[in-house]
């Protein structure tokens, strides 16, 4: 029991939770943007992979770390545009298109990696983003470790929570995005373009998702591995429901998952002798499902989600 308490008050534990949460923050923000506009984006898993590969590759080719981040965002935006074209003007099934984008983006990323590096056995490494060292702030007790010794991408993720929240709730653009996911006819009747709004939001949301992938290869690790996204995209889809499509709650949900994950790693070292390791690996997912079950019953899906809209249609 004491061991558990020790884990929970340790700053290293919370720093790890935030680190694990970072790609999820990007992913959930991206997914909730798309869904707020009425489009489910199951391309997320593939867009994560594409972002991870493209960002790392750009940095490895010498574009610099921030250059890599930009390239990752562009890669995400491109696959987002594909999904947007298929689902918005063409009105195809969002499930089918999304899964197709995931398969396509994942395979294309692996293909590009193998084509660029045909003979490599151990993945080449880049110099990844390093933990920040901000005078005074990074030296604060507890908070300094948890918040200010993270990498720049984690800071960016936290900033994006504020940005997405501001756009969604304070600007006319956000108002239009929230409206178009509830009743596109309302948006068209007020003279706005449903198609432009939905496509733009899906593209922007997909760029955010790709940053989650870029974090993996450029901050959490320093190389690209096959299978490294490992279901994080799908977790984001579930966390979006948990977050009731709100940026603040998205941060909370991602942190919760990060905390579960960090907790299981530490718990393993404490009681790993008695309990098989797989139980611990299962733990964050199990707890996420439980948390989801508790909130999802009241989930208030955007009313027009999954429904294609055609101009003038009643």
């Amino acid at each position: 029991m004491m061991e558990i308490l020790d884990i929970l008050v340790s700053p290293n534990f919370w720093a790890a939770a935030l680190r694990i949460a970072t790609p999820l923050i990007f992913g959930v923000l991206g997914a909730l943007l798309c869904e707020r506009a009425g489009v489910l984006n199951l391309g997320i898993e593939g867009i994560f992979t594409a972002g991870a590969m493209a960002g790392w590759m750009a940095a490895w080719l010498g574009a610099g770390l921030w250059g890599g981040v930009l390239v990752a965002a562009l890669a995400g935006a491109t696959f987002g545009l594909l999904h947007a074209v298929l689902t918005v003007p063409l009105g195809l099934s969002q499930h089918v298109s999304g899964i197709g984008v995931t398969l396509f983006a994942t395979s294309l990323s692996y293909y590009a990696y193998r084509t660029a590096l045909p003979d490599v056995t151990s993945p080449p490494r880049i110099t990844a983003f390093q933990p920040l060292d901000i005078p005074v702030l990074s030296d604060l007790p507890f908070l300094g470790t948890v918040l200010f010794q993270q990498t720049a991408l984690t800071m960016l993720a936290l900033a994006m929570v504020v940005v997405v929240g501001f756009v969604l709730y304070r600007t006319p653009l956000g108002l239009a995005i929230r409206a178009v996911g509830d009743n596109p006819a309302a948006v068209e009747a007020q003279g706005l373009s449903v198609m432009a709004l939905r496509m733009g939001t899906v593209v922007a949301g997909s760029a955010l998702m790709a940053l989650g992938g870029a974090f993996l290869t450029m901050s959490a690790f320093d190389a690209f591995f096959f299978g490294m996204v490992n279901g994080r995209g799908w977790i984001c889809i579930a966390l979006t429901v948990f977050a009731s499509w709100r940026p603040g709650k998205a941060l909370l949900g991602a942190l919760l998952f990060g905390a579960f994950d960090a907790f299981q790693v530490r718990l393993q070292t404490e009681v790993g002798a008695f309990v098989p390791g797989q139980v611990f690996l299962m733990l964050p997912y199990l707890l996420s499902i439980l948390a989801l079950v508790m909130v999802a019953r009241k989930a208030d899906y955007p009313r027009a989600m999954l429904k294609p809209y055609f101009k003038g249609q009643r």
Binding site: T171, P172, L175, A179, N183, A186, A189
Partner: protein, 518 residues
């Protein structure tokens, strides 16, 4: 072209002109060479049956559709008529056209205020509205009398309030032309009167108003001028003062109408009785329902949609179990009966949503015609379906009831609403049931199909069946019913002879003022 009425100051100025509007959808022509002029300060009713092209015409005006031929011109800043960019709601809004859609174009997750300011500022502006915007809107509400709680989410507003938000949206954008598509479809009679009073006030302040309707009474009472569309063409455009019901109805359908008449008939024994029945919970609940339906009568149930009619219908048709009370059908206790038991006991059900509950859309006309009797020996041979007998029944029903389709094998969902209702009527009424439950049987149908529904309900009554007619249309209720009861928030008033009631009384009862009305 009609002359504007004399006396009103604004009416001489044309603010909007549609010329030669033609719109085709594939082989169907929705509008053909329609001309229509609107003058400031007048209220024009656009009258026509379903499918006459009213909504299409207004959707062209508002830019939802692009006309194949013809031009819309609207008065510009310098008072001259200028062409309106086709196919752009944005351009229509900027030109001062406001549209209140039949199915409200409101985002329910936003507040009334957010819905009104949506799209009025550049998308990347740092805030959605200013205090000045808010004050301007509040002033508009005071002047127009259209009050609504701006900070409530639309999902929490009543239907009437949502309609006010829709009108405020147009006024907030300085609309000079206001188009309303079937604005009274969802309102109580009192709310409708209030709406038309507001529209008159807005017209007096210089707005040009068009409302789409197929209800003759409101067209006659609320408009200055009537334009009648029939099969996509404008067949009349004349001052309302020169019209009467008969004339408008004939213009609308293109031939003279013979009204179905309800012959006097002494009611017989009680066929269906509800005794203190409760069911459901929340907004859907019905409480303490009691009624006695007798042979040879039509019992009308009036009420604004959503006051428990759906639960009442489900209860009587055996789809919902009563939590207390008793239901007797032909003297037998059927409280615990399911839908099949009710059909077997002699109940026929004409469901409210004919597309969803009346037919199986993916199945053929023939299959839908026999689906309730599929277990009877008539359609079986050695335990297998007898397709010969089913096809024969389909041929007979299609011929007898003039169901317009390619034949018994046609897919049902592709038929028009009127023809789908004919399938439902043939299936339910041809078996001569003792009790008929008709829920909103003519909703969405045109005059011709409505007449057929009425004729068949009256025929059922004439042969001694008891008919429950649930309807929101008071004209229909008064034309058909021997007695009328009103349902409000799940409670049913005692049925009274239709002859003792008038529209105003029933309207008050529909709004929940049973005592004042009594």
């Amino acid at each position: 072209m009609s002359e504007p009425l004399p006396g009103r100051p604004h009416e001489r100025k044309i603010v909007l002109s549609l010329a030669g509007i033609t719109k085709r959808f594939g082989a169907m022509t929705a509008n053909e060479a329609v001309d229509l002029d609107l003058h400031a300060g007048e209220i024009v009713a656009l009258l026509g049956e379903n499918g006459a092209g009213k909504t299409t015409l207004m959707n062209i005006l508002f830019g939802h559709y692009v006309a194949d031929e013809g031009e819309v011109r609207i008065v510009g800043p310098d008072g001259e008529l200028v062409p309106l960019e086709p196919g752009s709601p944005h351009a229509a809004l900027n030109a001062g056209i406001g549209m209140v859609h039949q199915h409200f174009a409101l985002a329910e997750n936003l507040t009334a205020f957010e819905n009104i300011v949506l799209g009025t500022r550049p998308l990347l502006a740092p805030s959605t509205s200013s205090r000045a915007d808010r004050q301007r809107l509040e002033a508009l509400m005071r002047d127009s009398g259209l009050t609504v709680d701006l900070d409530l989410r639309v999902s929490r507003l009543s239907v009437g309030e949502q309609q006010r938000v829709e009108i405020l949206k147009a006024l907030y954008r300085d609309a000079r032309v206001l188009v309303l598509d079937e604005p009274t479809a969802v309102l109580t009679p009192q709310e409708s009167e209030g709406l038309f009073a507001t529209l008159r006030q807005l017209a007096d302040s210089g707005l040009a108003i068009v409302f789409i309707s197929h209800k003759l009474a409101e067209v006659l009472s609320a408009s200055d001028r009537v334009a009648v569309l029939r099969m996509g063409r404008k067949v009349a455009d004349l001052p309302t003062a020169e019209c009467d019901r008969q004339k408008l109805a004939e213009l609308m359908v293109g031939h003279s109408l013979s009204q179905s008449r309800r012959e006097p008939r002494a009611p017989g024994e009680v066929l269906l009785a509800l005794e203190g029945v409760c069911a459901g919970s929340g907004r859907e609940a019905v409480r303490d329902l009691s009624l006695a339906l007798r042979s040879g009568e039509i019992l009308g149930i009036a009420g604004v949609s959503g006051n428990g009619q759906a639960m009442f219908a489900r209860l009587v048709s055996g789809l919902e179990r009563a939590t207390s009370g008793r239901i007797l059908l032909a003297g037998r206790d059927v409280t615990a009966g399911d839908a099949r038991a009710m059909i077997a006991a002699g109940l026929a059900r004409i469901p409210e949503d004919r597309h969803r509950d009346g037919i199986v859309g993916a199945m053929s006309v023939a299959e839908n015609l026999v689906i309730e009797e599929i277990r009877s020996a008539r359609y079986q041979r050695l335990g297998f379906l007898d397709f010969g007998a089913i096809a024969a029944r389909a041929r007979e029903a299609i011929a007898a009831h003039d169901i317009r389709c390619r034949g018994g094998s046609a897919i049902s969902r592709l038929l028009s609403g009127g023809n789908i209702q004919k399938i439902v009527l043939a299936r339910t009424l041809d078996a001569e049931p003792a009790v008929v439950l008709a829920a909103q049987p003519s909703r969405g149908l045109d005059i011709g199909a409505t007449g057929e529904v009425h004729r068949r309900l009256l025929a059922a009554r004439a042969r001694g069946a008891g008919v429950i007619l649930i309807s929101e249309d008071l004209d229909e209720l008064f034309a058909l019913s021997d007695r009328i009861a009103v349902i409000h928030r799940g409670h049913l008033t005692p049925a009274r002879d239709a002859g003792e009631l008038d529209r105003a009384t029933v309207g008050l009862m529909m709004a929940g003022h049973a005592e004042e009305a009594a």
